[in-house]
Amino acid sequence: MAHKLKAYRLGLLVIVFILAGCASSRVEEFRATETGMALGEGLVLLGRASFSDNETKESFTDCMADSLKGGDRPLRVVPQKMFRDNFYPWFEPRVEPTSAEELKKLFMEPGVKDLIASSNIRYIAWIEGDTVRVDDGGTMSCTIGPWGGGCLGFSYWEEDASYKATIWDLEKMISAGQISSDSRGTSYIAGVILPIPILARPGNAACNALADQLRQFLTGS
């Protein structure tokens, strides 16, 4: 009975490993100035809009925010939508500041500086990038009818998740640095009556890698 249970657990573990697939990540950092966050200070993650297909999706910034808010050293992350609403129209996609110089000009607009101060927001991290499919192949066909259905074949696709965070220090009014993360992973799907997916999630890997590095960049630990 104990042997059976062990074999069952081992089998389950193997299946989980197979189904999870794998993605490799590379992170790079450029620091322009010293950073730090006092108690209560917060940051906001803003997806840079480009109005093209390859635009940072909200789901990616949400994933990063969740990651930064959790863990042993949680950071105060101001929700992106709330920030854009409160500062409307200054952080809308087509008018948002694109450099620290433009940010300085924006702070001269009535109410902006005061609202930043009262919200206790110390940093803005601009997130740019996307997850794109770089390769795919194989064939698989599925049929369904009144008597049942099934799939036969094999296919794969490779995705590349490349993201960059540019951090602005709102106290010093300068660009504090830049972090980039690049993750790659290949997913497979094998059709043996039932389709068996083996999924790599490079987007998720890039999100966690970038969030971890950003936390380290801001807090120094």
Binding site: K57, D85, Y88, P89, P146
Partner: protein, 221 residues
């Protein structure tokens, strides 16, 4: 174990019925026209007030704007802007000008007798609206664009300037939620146009020139 023939027949009939039901349900849901009323909240802009007492006239075509479109590619759509358009522009103009008065019955021909002591009258109109689905654009998102035409008249009904502003919005969209995605993209397009109007209205050359003259006249110089 062999099933009794009558049970076997019943199972066959049930599975055929289920399959047919699902098949026709899918077909019917694909043919149903998409009827949307734009709802949702839009923020109030935080901008420096222009010291002008303005009258705003919303023509019926603007206040009750409905877009209908039918094509082989996207099917039948009816998009009703509902209260959203006027509601947003009321809030926008109230925050942009010292005072914004709604003029229900206004005509440039009788402007001098119906302007309720305002210094200028603004008439917004929607000249174009369009949306794209991923099926049509080949891109992975839904998008919408609105072209607004803003005409500013002086207190005698003469045109000060005419300005065309295009708002653009996009939404990622989810499976079986195309209406929600188009609604979201439309809201973002209204918001985008509003941002441009709030920031760039008083920077229009013709407005600046009229405003300078108004100030000179009021100061008696």
């Amino acid at each position: 174990m062999k099933l009794r023939p009558d049970i076997k027949d019943n199972a066959k009939t049930a599975s055929i019925r289920l399959f047919s039901f699902l098949f026709f349900f899918t077909l019917l849901s694909a043919c149903a026209p998409s009827d949307i009323v734009i709802e949702g909240s839009l923020p109030v802009p935080m901008v420096k007030k222009i010291p002008v007492r303005i009258g705003v006239h919303y023509p019926d075509a603007f206040a009750n704007f409905v877009h209908t479109e039918t094509s082989k590619e996207i099917g039948a759509w009816r998009i009703d802007f509902g209260e959203q358009n006027v509601g947003f522009f009321r809030a926008l103009f109230s925050s942009m000008f010292t005072e914004a008065v709604i003029l229900e019955n206004w005509d440039s021909d009788i402007a001098s007798v119906s302007n309720e002591d305002t210094q200028a009258v603004l008439v917004p109109q929607i000249t174009k609206y369009g949306f794209l689905t991923p099926f049509v654009s080949g891109l992975g998102f839904y998008s919408a664009s609105i072209e607004y035409d803003l005409t500013l008249f002086d207190s005698r009904g003469a045109t000060i300037f005419n300005w065309t502003v295009v708002g653009y919005g996009k939404s990622e969209g989810k499976a079986f939620a195309k209406e929600e995605a188009v609604e979201q993209a439309t809201l973002l397009a209204i918001r985008d146009a509003g941002a441009r109007i709030a920031i760039e209205f008083d920077k229009q050359k013709a407005f600046k020139s009229w405003f300078d003259n108004l100030e000179k006249a009021e100061n008696g110089s």
